[in-house]
């Protein structure tokens, strides 16, 4: 047992790769066979991650020496590095295809989510500007939340709330889209482009549209791939500064 402890202790990051790989494998299996793809594997994986954090204290599971490597893999440096890399899949030349409606829907989508996050956060007793900004960013996606929170120095528990908000959004978009599609006239490519820009959480948009009409998926994905980038750009800068100005 001691030998195993030493090996893992000295190779924490590698052990973290193994752990996350197993979580991802299990959650995609669970998504496929237990929920019949109704809940995206990503959302399940993040819920597993959040529940594992209960095993530790302030630093989640990485408080347990065996899992200290998770803090390295999930630390802000590698996280921001990987998030920036996703910009490669957002083809700037395609934003023209989305047109004015696509651009407007993206900006309004980020703005509405952020504003609602701040307002609901305020009504539930959060008054700190950094916390409110992070909660608002979490209402955009589960990526924008932690990226914003770390950048402006929010506390770990508020970042956890912002991630949880983003996950609820993904799950609700997945389940809710096919139910509400008719009412919001989501039955053509143009509406799907707008839908992707407004809702934004890519995994939720893609899964929700797939359950509504497979043919609409690429149109929704077209705009939603830009959403997280725009959120990461606006939330910790313009929106944060505006909030500060209002507050001071």
């Amino acid at each position: 047992m001691e030998i195993i402890d030493t090996i893992i202790g000295k190779n924490g990051l590698v052990f973290a790769f193994l752990c996350v790989g197993i979580i991802m494998l299990f959650s995609s299996w669970f998504s496929k066979y237990i929920t019949n793809k109704k809940i995206p594997g990503v959302a399940i994986a993040i819920i597993i991650g959040l529940s594992l954090a209960f095993l530790g204290d302030e630093k989640g599971i990485s408080n347990i020496p065996l899992f200290a490597g998770m803090a390295l893999l999930g630390g802000p440096m590698l996280r921001d590095f990987a998030v920036v890399a996703t910009a490669m899949s957002a083809d700037l030349s395609k934003i023209r295809q989305a047109g004015l409606a696509g651009l407007v829907s993206l900006l309004i989508g980020v703005f509405i989510s952020f504003t609602m996050g701040v307002l609901i956060g305020l009504s539930m007793g959060y008054t700190n500007i950094e916390s409110l900004t992070t909660i608002g960013a979490g209402a955009c996606t589960y990526i924008v939340g932690p990226v914003t929170g770390t950048a402006i120095g929010a506390s770990s528990d508020v970042i956890a709330i912002s991630v949880a908000t983003g996950v609820v959004k993904t799950i609700f978009a997945t389940i809710g889209t096919p139910l509400i599609a008719k009412k919001i006239q989501l039955d053509n490519p143009h509406a799907a482009i707008v839908f992707g820009g407004l809702v934004g959480t890519t995994s939720g948009v893609v899964a929700g549209l797939a359950a509504t009409d497979e043919e609409l998926v690429p149109y929704g994905a077209l705009t939603s791939t830009f959403y997280t980038g725009i959120g990461c750009l606006l939330c910790p800068s313009l929106f944060y500064v505006i909030l500060r100005v209002i507050y001071l």
Partner: protein
């Protein structure tokens, strides 16, 4: 070589973070103001430029794609290291906010869809 792609990503990342910090410094806020967003924008524009110049070969791109595909696993690792016990009281907020923000955005679809639609679909009417 894949490392060229990783190096390009690293350059954009550091430049973005620098811009974010400088902007923060400029407006007297001691934090990173939109650094990740700037970095993403830099990566998008520089990859378009390099592709046009034919300098960005597939092998180079693969170095960036690898990190792009690692972001979900990294986010999962991050969630397992958050202070969830202290956040438990905010669980209700997360559920209310997640559902209401999504619902409001969904209901905006018919309204925003009106923009630019006449040109593509309804033009015979005019």
């Amino acid at each position: 070589m894949k490392i060229y792609g990783v190096a390009l990503l690293a350059a954009c990342f550091l430049m973005g973070k620098l811009l974010g910090r400088l902007l923060g410094h400029l407006i007297n806020i001691d934090s990173d103001i939109g650094g990740v967003g700037f970095a993403m924008f830099l990566l998008m524009t520089s990859s378009i430029y390099l592709r046009k110049k034919k300098w960005l070969v597939l092998e180079t791109e693969k170095g960036i794609w690898f990190w792009s595909s690692m972001y979900i696993p990294i986010i999962v690792a991050m969630t397992s290291t958050l202070n969830v016990k202290a956040a438990l009281s905010g669980g209700f907020l997360a559920i209310i906010l997640g559902i209401s923000a999504t619902a409001v955005c969904m209901l905006m679809v018919p309204l925003i869809s009106k923009i630019g639609r006449e040109k593509s679909i309804d033009s015979p009417k005019k």
